[in-house]
């Protein structure tokens, strides 16, 4: 119900934030976009480098590869915990909640440090392995790609849980009951009935996790040790180590375009009612 007298209060309430973000976010982003076509000289040179420069290409390819692996692992792990969270006993639900939501609130730096402590040469995993006599010397477990993947999966699992949970909550119990009535085994019920019914949630979670993983900076920078750098770290290096602001800006614009395309895909799924949990 809208009345014309409501215009002024609407403006007074919503305008401060909208204006603030227009000034502090939208306009400066246009400035960055401008950098990408003016630095060091006017033209589309930076975008040509984006598709032509082998270094930039290899970083983009590595980022996509790592993000794909991370997304698959994170969504699979999240599926297992969400399944027990939604369908388990009260005690199981409480325990899962602790496991998901406590790390979620802890700083990225603390968590990356936790992985360093576990995986470094004199770290907990290596010393335990040596004490048990399983290895002679320390294994190189950190400052490489697997440790980056572990750290990123750890950060991203909670983001996959919510869309999965909303899809699992809408599954009609009677479908499972019907499958059991017709003699299906537990595995069969899960594989042929439950999993397909929750597939929209899996797609939603996959897109969200992939989008979030693309811009990761802190975790790969600390656990990767500068060896396998990803796109976000490349932007940082181009800004502060070899001042090449034009390229950094062009990468930023490219990232926004990719994310916008993926979010558009997500919005289409949501509109088609495939996301579940629309109640």
């Amino acid at each position: 119900m809208r009345s014309s007298s409501a215009l002024w209060p609407t403006l007074a309430l919503t305008a401060p934030l909208v204006l603030f973000l227009a000034f502090a976010y939208a306009v400066p982003f246009l400035g960055v976009a401008l950098w990408s076509v003016t630095l060091p000289e006017p033209g589309l040179g930076q975008y040509e480098r984006l598709v032509g420069d082998p270094l930039v290409q290899s970083v983009f390819l590595r980022t996509f590869r790592i993000c794909l692996i991370v997304t698959v692992i994170a969504v699979a792990c999240a599926y297992a915990v969400t399944y027990v969270w939604v369908r388990g006993s009260r005690l199981q639900r409480r325990l899962i909640e602790i496991c998901i939501f406590v790390p979620f609130w802890i700083s990225l730096l603390t968590r990356a440090f936790g992985w360093l402590v576990l995986l470094s040469t004199r770290g907990i995993v290596n010393s335990s392995l040596q004490v048990l006599g399983l290895t002679d010397g320390p294994l190189a477990l950190v400052r490489n790609e697997p440790s980056v993947i572990a750290g990123m999966v750890h950060v991203l699992i909670p983001f996959a849980v919510l869309p999965l949970a909303s899809a699992m909550r809408t599954v009609d119990e009677r479908m499972l009951l019907a499958a059991r009535g017709m003699g299906a085994s537990r595995l069969r019920i899960f594989w042929s009935v439950f999993l397909p019914l929750t597939l929209p949630g899996v797609i939603g979670a996959t897109l969200i996790v992939f989008v979030f993983s693309l811009g990761f900076f802190v975790t790969p920078a600390i656990l990767g040790g500068g060896r396998s750098i990803m796109v976000a770290e490349l932007v940082y290096l181009r800004m502060f180590q070899s001042p090449d602001w034009g390229l950094g800006a062009a990468i930023s614009v490219a990232l926004v375009v990719i994310v916008a395309a993926l979010m558009g895909l997500l919005a289409r799924f949501a509109r088609l009612g495939l996301m579940g949990g629309g109640r």
Binding site: T10, P16, P28, V117, G215
Partner: protein, 270 residues
Amino acid sequence: MRIQRPGPVAVALALLVGIFLLLPLLAVVPISFTPGRLLTLPKGSLSLMHYRTLFENPDWLSGILLSARIGLFTSVISTVLATSFALGIWMLQPRFSQVLVGFVLLPMIVPPVVSAMTLYFLLTGMSQMSHSIGFDSVIGVTLAHVVMTVPFAVVMVLVALAQVDRRIDLAARGMGASVAQRIVHVILPTIAFGVATAALLVFVLSWEEIGVTLFITSVDAITLPRLMWMGLRDNVDPAIAAISVVLIVVTLVILLARMAFQRRPEFEEE
């Protein structure tokens, strides 16, 4: 009622993932009591030397105080802006609501590194006017943190508003209450818990913000995460284990306090 409880395989898998999620947090605890300068498990004797460093080294103390100050400012500004915006959307349902909400959520969706570059552009520009409001200043960092945290506050307040019964607002309106009266006497008291949660979340997000802070500070505005970052990148300092344990404990206390105040969720079954 659930006809099918998770079987042993599902529970075992969930347990493994749960351990994976808690492991890095638990690992930090013993390391913080190690007597040496290296990241090793303490052998025999325990030491509080790294905790003492936190209080004796002026860098850590000033980082903690600076982050607390920026976190408080950010929390107040973000929560006020977000609550006002969400109230406007909920009460008056302006045309283009979805576009407006989408716009203010952008800093949450855009990759943090892009936001960092954008805010770097803004703050270096503002530095041209005055050094106290731009790059590497407390006001500049606060401004950037407000941009990064305000979408989360908007989501929290909108979620709180979605649970409000519109009829109580209509009743107030029918009895002739003005927009301001409806907000102050009817709606704000109803969503107080949601607003408080938003303020808390914003404080925590600002307190631990590093992705953007790294781009917009250099030598003056050294926040706690910035200090931790420097300690993690160079040679890893065990004092970080001590500060990590402190941070984990503080977060746990905040979460427990929040749980204690929270009304029981209504979807609790059985």
